[in-house]
């Protein structure tokens, strides 16, 4: 019974991780400018590995494999922001201008706008 529960939880994590990955990839193709695409890459690089590794860890329990998976996850989470920041900084120095909407920055959020 308990094993069954763990299995179902693990499957849910794995499939959800895959879904989050696809959403991130979709954003990478679909968002309008370079700096917004960095955020989409952030989705594919943080939550997706988190969920997939969690799902795999639930499969194997406490073992050497789990330790290595956790090491991989830690390493991915430590390097992802560094790489993202390096790319953003390099693009900025090279003259890629972030697209900025100034108009309604202090009004309510969530309203559809035509400037994207």
């Amino acid at each position: 019974m308990f094993d069954m529960l763990i299995d179902i939880l693990s499957w849910a994590c794995l499939l959800l991780g895959g879904l989050v990955g696809i959403i991130g990839g979709l954003g990478l193709v679909r968002l309008p400018d370079f700096f917004s695409r960095l955020h989409a890459a952030g989705v594919a690089e943080t939550l997706c590995p988190l969920l997939v590794v969690l799902g795999l860890v639930l499969q194997s329990g406490i073992s050497l494999l789990t330790l290595k998976l956790v090491l991989i996850l830690l390493f991915l989470l430590f390097t992802a922001p560094t790489a993202t920041h390096a790319v953003a900084r390099a693009a900025l120095v090279d003259g890629v201008e972030p697209e900025v909407t100034e108009d309604d920055s202090e009004s309510t959020s969530g309203e559809p706008s035509s400037n994207t």
């Binding site: 991130g24 890459a41 590995p49 997939v52 050497l64 790489a83």
Partner: protein, 97 residues
């Protein structure tokens, strides 16, 4: 069990395909680098999943090493794109920290 793992692998392959679309389209070189970075992260996850599908526990070491190399590769490519020289010591950015 294996079905779920294969489905997740397929989903991650789809993500890689989308990242590849962005890498081919550009338009700036930084878009391409960013897409390749995502592609590399997904490769690590694919290798980890394949470890579980095939049951060869040794493959996880490959994933571990790939995670390390991917980061170094991104920084190296970034440096190459910016300075056209891997060996230059100053990367042209004024660090004010």
């Amino acid at each position: 069990m294996t079905l779920v793992l294969v489905l997740t692998t397929m989903a991650i392959f789809a993500t890689m395909a989308l990242a590849l679309v962005r890498a081919l389209k550009g338009p700036t070189v930084y878009d391409r680098i960013n897409a390749v970075n995502v592609f590399g992260t997904k490769t690590v996850l694919i290798i980890a999943l394949i470890t579980y599908i095939t049951g060869h526990a040794d493959l996880i070491d490959v994933a571990l090493v790939y995670a390390l190399i991917n980061f170094i590769a991104i920084v190296a490519v970034l440096k190459l794109a910016k300075t056209r020289d891997l060996a230059s010591s100053s990367d042209g950015v004024v660090d004010d920290v």
